[in-house]
């Protein structure tokens, strides 16, 4: 028999860090579900198994459920078995599985809402759904209990959701599952969901890629964060007969690619050139790419402002973007000298700014800047800042002004200076 084992779709998930782009990221996951169902259909699987966390939460909007059903309806020949996980547990009348849309769910969909044995394609599905978000009880105990009934020569597939109980790698109330649970329950295959990266175990030992195992956690089919290796797959499982070793195939289904690119602002032209090159490579798949650009290096405010402005347009075509500014903003010695020559008073004000930045963020003093004539008293700095932020001096905490703030101040100054020069 052949089936797809997936888990952790987290449909309706939240992407607060992407603001207005969050909805696009949510929609992509439906697209990925469709991809996986299509692949299942093409592989003529006996069923499509979802081992928990189809939904990000039991309280997702009805639209999420309807869209999901719409995807299932497109593949009526693929029986879908859904197990409630810790994100969408069957925890009572308010549970998602009791919601009205489920009264008219697609005919090919079965919700394994209660523990029990379900016949499918000549095999037995021994399901242990989760009833709550947290529990210290191993959910495979229920499978072991169900497995006491005679198998009658059928293949037995256990399905549940939880963390593998490796010391130090799980929380005690995270539905801990003994790593050799497939052996203890005596099933031919134990389909587990929870962790978001691909995991295969056999007799409690991690199985190297390419080797088959009986306990599989396929991870989330659609990565939801940067640097999430091992996500973006479903497992295509083939079991020829009871007690035979299952053949597990890692099937990529992810729609999005999450990329982190670096830009060294210390040499901005070269950095931009390199970044442009990398972006050009992925530009054909821009609508499926989430880009994060990490700015670093010591940079002058003017260059930083220019770089950020350039990035804004360079990243525009991509589905979602993030800019991580890890630069250290500082005027160059030449810039400081120039300002000193142009306006000694401005140069003095800049030393004061550098001193306040140093006091607030403990940042190093820029080379070429002499702070000996700058504001020296913490009280004076606090009094100055208190006027700025509209607080009483005794209540003013300098650390409210972070490195970002001082970058902005430098950028503002740089911008105004530029305009003044023009």
């Amino acid at each position: 028999m052949k089936f797809i084992h997936s888990a952790d779709w987290q449909l309706g998930a939240r992407f607060s860090q992407f603001g207005p782009k969050a909805e696009s990221l949510r929609q992509v996951r439906f697209q990925t579900l469709e991809t996986a169902l299509r692949k299942a259909d093409e592989a003529s699987v006996d069923f499509f198994l979802i081992a928990g966390d189809l939904f990000e939460d039991g309280q997702v909007d009805d639209t999420v459920i309807h869209t999901t059903f719409e995807k299932f309806r497109r593949f009526p020949g693929v029986p879908v078995f859904i197990l409630p996980g810790n994100h969408d547990p069957n925890d009572g009348p308010s549970s998602i599985w009791n919601r009205k849309p489920f009264l008219t769910k697609p005919s090919n969909v079965t919700v394994l809402a209660e523990p029990g044995v379900t016949e499918c394609g000549g095999a037995q599905l021994l399901a242990s759904p989760l009833r709550q978000k947290k529990s210290t009880i191993d959910p495979t105990l229920k499978i072991a209990e169900l497995a006491r009934q005679p198998a009658d020569g059928r293949i037995r597939i256990g399905v549940t959701h939880g963390a593998l109980a490796f010391p130090g790698k799980h929380e005690s109330n995270d539905h801990p599952i003994v790593p050799d649970a497939e052996t203890r329950t005596g099933v031919d295959y134990l389909a587990v969901g929870h962790w978001h990266t691909w995991q295969v175990y056999d007799h409690g030992r991690h199985v190297m890629p390419g080797t088959d195992g009986r306990l599989v956690m396929p991870g989330t089919p659609e990565p939801d964060a940067f640097e999430q290796d091992g996500a973006g797959h479903v497992a295509l499982v083939e079991i020829s007969s009871p007690q035979s070793k299952p053949v597990v195939q890692k099937v990529p289904v992810a729609t999005l690619q999450w990329m982190t690119l670096d830009l060294d602002c210390a040499d901005a032209p070269a950095g931009r050139q390199g970044l442009e090159h990398r972006l050009a490579e992925v530009k054909p798949a821009a609508d499926r790419t989430v880009v994060r650009v990490r700015l670093h290096g010591r940079v002058s405010p003017r260059v930083l402002a220019e770089t950020r402005q350039w990035l804004e347009s360079a990243l525009q075509p991509y589905l979602a973007q993030q800019v991580l500014d890890e630069t250290a903003v500082a005027l160059t010695v030449a810039e400081i000298d120039e300002i000193k020559n142009r306006s000694p008073l401005l140069a003095q004000a800049l030393t004061d700014l550098a001193q306040i930045e140093h006091l607030a963020t403990n940042s190093p003093v820029p080379a070429g800047m002499d702070l000996s004539q700058a504001i020296s008293s913490l009280d004076e700095a606090r009094a100055l800042v208190s006027r700025v932020i509209g607080e009483k001096p005794e209540k003013t905490d300098l650390t409210r002004l972070d490195a970002e703030f001082f970058k902005l101040a430098h950028q503002l100054l740089s911008q105004e200076l530029q305009e003044a020069t023009q």
Binding site: G12, A13, R14, F15, S16, Q17, F18, G19, P20, A22, E56, D57, G58, Q59, V60, D61, D62, T63, V64, D91, G92, P93, S94, S95, I96, N98, R99, K100, R342, S343, P344, L345, L346, Q348, A349, D352, L353, I356, L384, V385, R387, V388, I389, G390, L401, E404, F405, F406, L408, A409, L412, L413, E416, L417, E419, A420
Partner: protein, 901 residues
């Protein structure tokens, strides 16, 4: 520029040519009365220097003499660092302008008309106005150096190139315009989002707008999260209800089983209970019969026992009665014997008592007699002391009533007389008479005659005041008269004193003062002796107040003695007994009497005890008699009761008891047998049955209620679950993230702009202060010299305008609030400071046109000092209508009439 001279023609009041000059390079005083054209001279000079010769403006026309169309001509000779120049201008009619330079002592033309005008502007750094006449702002540096009439307390604006030059000279550095521009930009940026005063988000600004939206979103998020929490709580409650439902179901099931079981048992009991009740009734009857027979048997046995006891008791009572009777007889005999003995002792006590009383009477008689003798002795002594006292008092009564005060008065008068005598003696007549043999002399003084007997060879001195007449025995009369007038008065006073002394002596009955003193001493001595005699009499009287008391007491004692003696009739032997003998007898009799008293008490107690014992025996014997009668009655009663019981049980009471016991045992066995057929606690079964049914009912109701609650909660949960709270929360969080970023960006941008602005402002202020301080020092110093007040400091603002004066910034008095005089002086100080700064590159002329109108005379004097000192470095032209204020300083110049060369 230094002014050398100014010449005018057809200007103001001057139709002829007038000139002021040559002027001194130092201090020049142009003093003239009002309306003599001082200010006109300065105005016309300025027109010549700064205005175009072709100008026809109102100001130029005003130069003409009033009501004429004459062409005003002005010539000014001045010196610059490039040389000496002369500018001559004629305005309005045939206008002309000519500039000449002194070269080798000759004026050589440099240019004419517009060229001349332009060249002068170049030399003086002035500007050409767009149209019309020049105004001070076109005059370059002279705008600040020339104080025109009426401008004493106003300082021109610091604008234009000349102002920049002056400010740069004064304050050395200029504030970088870049700083001002950046500050302005940053402030504008800040004001987009914040209120300048409070630094709060500005209403309608992007920040306030974003914060408002953020607030709304957060409120909505809070609501959604509240619902989510409510959902969680409801879920927990639902789970609780579910578990409770299961519990109630189990409980209800158990209760039902229990109620069924109890009901079954109750029905069984209902069938068996009547049989048990019948056996129990029979058992009760058998128990009663047995108890009745047993009671009778016990009563009969008790009555028999009691009868035996009563008989024994009666025997004992009779025996006791007899014993008491015997004791009574014996007691009677003892009582008679004791009474006799007591009577005898009473006799003995009466004899002893009589003997003791006689001895005590005799003793008292003897003591009274002795006391009487003592009283007689005391009376004799007291009477003797009283007689002595009486004598002394009589002696004192014979002495006149002299007192120390009276004696003092006498002595005073005597002393007065003596002093008057001495005075008379000094001023009066003194006559020493020394007869050869004893002679009698008759002296008549002031009409009084006296006779003196003088021994032979003895000198008798006679003194008198005004006149003395001495008749010498055997010789005749000698009359001596004094011429001293005052003697009459002295003698008069002496006469009065002598009369007063004589009167006082007569009143007291003494002859002279010495006798009075002696008698007073005697009186004092008598008083002492009387006090002593009085003390002696008091001592003799002792406790008695006076002699009469003592006598009365003695008479009383005597009477008492006589009465006692009569009552005792002592025999002769008794009279002979001494007091100590009598006391010895008394002491001998007293113990015997006490012993007899004790014997009487003891015998009386013994007699009483015997009497009590006899009474007790009699009473007990009476009681025993009564008791015996009662016992006899009881015995008879018991005997009757025994007889009656025996009569009721003809077959014997023991036999009847055995039969009743057997019947009871059989009934008991039947009851036990019936009870064994019933369940334990069968009596509580009906109640248990009712309780079990009620408990089951309650559990059923709880179960139903729980199910209803569950159902209700299920509906609520389903409804809440369908709201898609998570998705709503996600959406809100994402929107909040965007809005928060917007608000943060606006806030950060505003804060950054404000920080940059404030930092620049801070540095600018510090720089301004740094450059202003020396100028302020200079101004403060000149102002101190002008005012004589050295503690005040002058404060300038960054525009070099005077802010005010004061000891410190905090005590600063604003310029506008200073007095007019102080303002004038401050302006003068600033003007001199400006001139001083400019003089460093070129000599300068300062014109002060009546600028110290409000300065008091004291400060005016100081002004002269300052001006004199300043004149060492610059040219000063002071125009004044008070020549006296400037007398003695500088060069006095005047407006001289002459022709234009």
């Amino acid at each position: 520029m230094i002014l050398e001279s100014v010449e005018l023609k057809n200007v103001g009041p001057f139709r002829e040519t007038v000139r002021v000059g040559p002027l001194d390079p130092g201090l020049n005083i142009l003093a003239a009365s009002n309306e003599t054209g001082k200010s006109t001279l300065v105005k016309a000079g300025a027109r010549a220097l700064f205005d175009s010769h072709g100008g026809k403006s109102k100001e130029i026309k005003e130069l003409r003499p009033a009501g004429t169309s004459l062409a005003p001509s002005v010539a000014v000779v001045f010196r610059c660092k490039s040389g000496n120049y002369r500018i001559e201008k004629t305005f309005l009619e045939s206008p002309r302008s000519q500039l000449s330079q002194m070269v080798d002592g000759q004026w050589r033309p440099l240019g004419e008309a517009d060229q001349a005008d332009r060249r002068v502007r170049e030399l003086l750094g002035s500007e050409k106005p767009g149209a019309g006449a020049t105004k001070p702002e076109h005059w370059g540096l002279f705008r600040y150096l020339w104080a025109r009439q009426g401008e004493a307390v106003a300082w021109p604006e610091w604008d234009g190139e000349a102002a920049k030059l002056v400010r740069a000279r004064l304050a050395r550095v200029e504030i970088d315009p870049l700083i001002e521009r950046l500050k302005s930009s940053f402030w504008s940026e800040y004001e987009k989002n914040f209120t300048p005063a409070q630094g709060q988000p500005k209403a309608g600004g992007p920040l306030a707008f974003a914060e408002k939206e953020l607030g709304d979103l957060k409120a909505e998020l809070k609501e959604v999260r509240g619902k989510a929490r409510e959902l969680e709580e409801l879920q927990i409650r639902f789970q609780g209800f579910s578990e409770q439902t299961t519990t109630f179901e189990q409980e209800a099931r158990k209760l039902k089983e229990k109620a069924d079981e109890i009901g079954q048992q109750a029905r069984q009991v209902e069938l068996l209970l009547p049989e048990l009740r019948a056996h129990e009734k029979a058992l009760e009857a058998a128990r009663k019969e047995f108890h009745r027979v047993d009671g009778d048997l016990r009563a009969a046995r008790e009555a028999q026992d009691a009868l035996q006891g009563l008989k024994k008791e009666m025997e004992q009572s009779e025996q006791r009665q007899q014993e008491l009777k015997d004791a009574e007889v014996e007691n009677e005999s003892l009582l008679t014997e004791a009474d006799g003995a007591l009577q005898e002792v009473h006799h003995r006590r009466a004899g002893l008592q009589a003997e003791l009383e006689r001895v005590q009477g005799l003793l008292k008689l003897r003591r009274l007699k002795d006391a009487l003798v003592d009283l007689q002795k005391k009376l004799q002594e007291a009477e003797s002391q009283a007689a002595a006292l009486s004598r002394l008092q009589e002696e004192k009564s014979k002495i006149p009533g002299l007192t120390p005060q009276k004696l003092g008065k006498l002595k005073g008068l005597d002393q007065d007389i003596r002093e008057l005598d001495a005075q008379i003696k000094v001023v009066g007549i003194t006559m020493d008479l020394t007869p050869d043999k004893a002679s009698r002399v008759e002296v008549t003084e002031s009409g009084a005659k006296r006779s003196l007997k003088i021994q032979g060879g003895v000198t008798e001195t006679l003194s008198s005041g005004q006149a003395l007449r001495v008749r010498l025995e055997g010789w005749g009369e000698v009359r001596v008269r004094s011429g001293a007038g005052e003697l009459k008065d002295l003698e008069e006073r002496r006469r009065e004193a002598q009369a007063e002394l004589s009167k006082a002596l007569a009143e007291l009955g003494v002859e002279n003062v010495e006798q009075a003193a002696s008698l007073l001493e005697k009186r004092k001595d008598l008083d002492g002796r009387i006090r002593e005699a009085t003390q002696d009499l008091k001592r003799a009287l002792g406790d008695f107040d006076d002699l009469d008391g003592l006598k009365a007491r003695m008479n009383q004692s005597d009477t008492e003695h006589e009465n006692l003696r009569k009552s005792l009739h002592p025999e002769s032997g008794e009279d002979a007994l001494s007091i100590s003998g009598l006391e010895a007898q008394e002491e001998t009799l007293k113990p015997g009497l006490r012993d007899v008293e004790k014997t009487i008490q003891r015998d009386e107690r013994a007699l009483k005890e015997l009497a009590d014992k006899q009474a007790s025996c009699r009473e007990e014997r009476h009681l025993k008699g009564t008791e015996l009668a009662k016992l006899s009655e009881q015995t008879k009663s018991h005997e009757r009761k025994i007889e009656e019981t025996r009569a009721r049980y003809p077959e014997g009471i023991e036999v009847m008891k055995a039969r009743a016991g057997d019947a009871f045992t059989e009934a008991e066995t039947r009851v036990e047998s019936a009870r064994r057929k019933l369940p334990p606690d069968y009596e509580k079964l009906p109640e248990g049955n009712r309780r079990a049914a009620a408990a089951f009912g309650e559990a059923q109701r709880d179960l139903e209620k729980c199910r209803e609650d569950c159902q209700r909660l299920r509906g609520t949960l389903e409804a809440l679950g369908a709201e898609g709270l998570y998705s709503r929360e996600s959406q809100l969080l994402e929107e909040i993230g965007v809005k928060k970023a917007e608000a943060d960006a606006a806030r950060r941008r505003g804060w950054a702009a404000r920080l940059l602005h404030d930092l620049m402002e801070r540095r600018k202020q510090a720089a301004t202060r740094q450059v202003l301080t020396p100028l302020e020092d200079q101004l403060s110093s000149v102002f101190a010299e002008l005012t004589g007040v050295s503690v005040r400091r002058i404060f300038l603002d960054e525009n070099l305008q005077i802010r005010g004066a004061g000891r410190s910034e905090e005590e600063l008095l604003a310029f506008d609030l200073l007095s007019q005089g102080a303002k004038e002086q401050l302006m003068l100080a600033l003007r001199l400071a400006v001139a001083q700064a400019l003089t460093e590159t070129e000599p300068q002329a300062v014109i002060l046109d009546d600028v110290l109108a409000n300065t008091d005379p004291v400060r005016q004097a100081r002004v002269l000092d300052v001006l004199q000192a300043a004149a060492q470095r610059m040219q000063l032209l002071v125009l004044t209508c008070h020549p006296d204020h400037y007398r003695g300083v500088g060069k006095v110049v005047s407006i001289e009439r002459c022709g234009i060369p």
